[in-house]
Subunit: 230 residues, 2 copies
């Protein structure tokens, strides 16, 4: 494993839906895993081996990817930005007609594990507890998307930016958010233009609701920020 | 059953995820079913019996409901409008933390079947094929919501209205769409104001892309409409 100290099995065992899987189940899954590397900017696709598409889902080990929709006129909308430990494409496993609605693109050099559809279906057949955890996982995706729709349609751009900083800063010491990606990606996630995003940041800084120092954004009083513009 | 000729079992058997269920499985489900009636405008909630919440999901037998998000300032966004044969709330069955993100409201007098969570979980334990169909069902919800996000963020209001008429008219003879609900609900589904929706309809009528006659909208040339404004 690419410099890490975890085995493939240990890494996959940390995914919520693989947690507590029997050792037989885990063997079926890990036997199917292929390691893949994509360069920054590359589109992540299912593996084509000997001309046959090999269906499955991906887990990010190192690096970052974005899931995005692309409009006919070339416009893009980032749905989700993912990093180490995140997985994507699980929904496709259970749909007959695979839609190319969402494109996945590497936003840095990225190292992924590809888990085959067949292995997941084989384990589902024998393990109802795994089926339940997978149902729970996919259902939480439904809720994440509903939250996105709620935000896009019912919240102001400023509220969306405030929510973004609060959500990401509360995990860090001193309520700090550190930009690890470019602003245009975050703006797309929040469904605003990069210029509008910068304008809102300046407005929040002017009100001393956020303190900007290079790539670090500190929130001196989260409660005051939370109630701003609501 | 409220005037219909189908039994509860026959009605539920038509839901895609219950199709092909064993008779034992179907018995477990139908034994748990409660019939419920809501008046127009009422909020549909899980049944409270003897003070204890009874979790489950709902199936529409007669009438219509809308699933909506409500903003803090009272603004509403309709996510989905549902009629006979549609079900809602399945995702909740598999989530520990039940979110009150989506409200369900009757848009007419409505007759529903409530299927208990316990019965669904019991059948999942014994039937991997049912688990697969439920995974497929929830996964298709993920795709529907992704399509919504794509439309809200990457398609123009006119494109959304065109898509709506085309999608609903192609099922009918003579490519006709008939308004069975009010325009403000459709406008909310498409994430535009009712005034903007009316303006786009007038614009499409002026171009003879749609012919309006009372509550009926006829599409003389679907292909021409499809390529308008794209």
């Amino acid at each position: 494993m690419d410099g890490g100290s975890l085995s493939v099995q240990e890494f996959l065992g940390r995914l919520p839906f693989f947690e507590g899987l029997s050792s037989t189940g885990m063997k079926i899954i890990t036997r199917s895993v292929t390691q893949r590397f994509f360069q920054k900017g590359a589109l992540v696709q299912d593996i084509i081996e000997k001309g046959a598409p090999r269906e499955g889902f991906h887990v990010v080990v190192n690096g970052t990817v974005k899931l995005l929709c692309v409009a006919q006129n070339g416009g893009e909308k980032v749905i989700r930005a993912l990093g180490p430990g995140d997985s994507f494409g699980e929904e496709k496993l259970f749909l007959d007609k695979i839609d190319t609605l969402v494109t996945t693109q590497a936003t840095s050099h990225v190292f992924l594990l590809h888990v085959s559809r067949d292995s997941v279906l084989a384990v589902l057949q024998r393990d109802p507890a795994f089926a339940m955890r997978m149902l729970s996982h996919i259902s939480s995706r439904v809720y994440l998307l509903l939250k996105d729709i709620e935000a896009y349609t019912l919240k102001s751009a400023t509220q969306r930016v405030v929510d973004y900083f609060l959500k990401n800063a509360e995990r860090e010491e001193g309520n700090q958010y550190r930009f690890t990606t470019n602003k245009s990606l975050i703006a797309s996630l929040l469904n605003i233009t990069p210029e509008h995003f910068s304008r809102i940041m300046r407005e929040l800084a002017a009100e001393q609701l956020i303190l900007i120092d290079g790539r670090a954004v500190t929130i001196p009083d989260p409660e005051r920020l939370r109630t701003y513009d609501s």
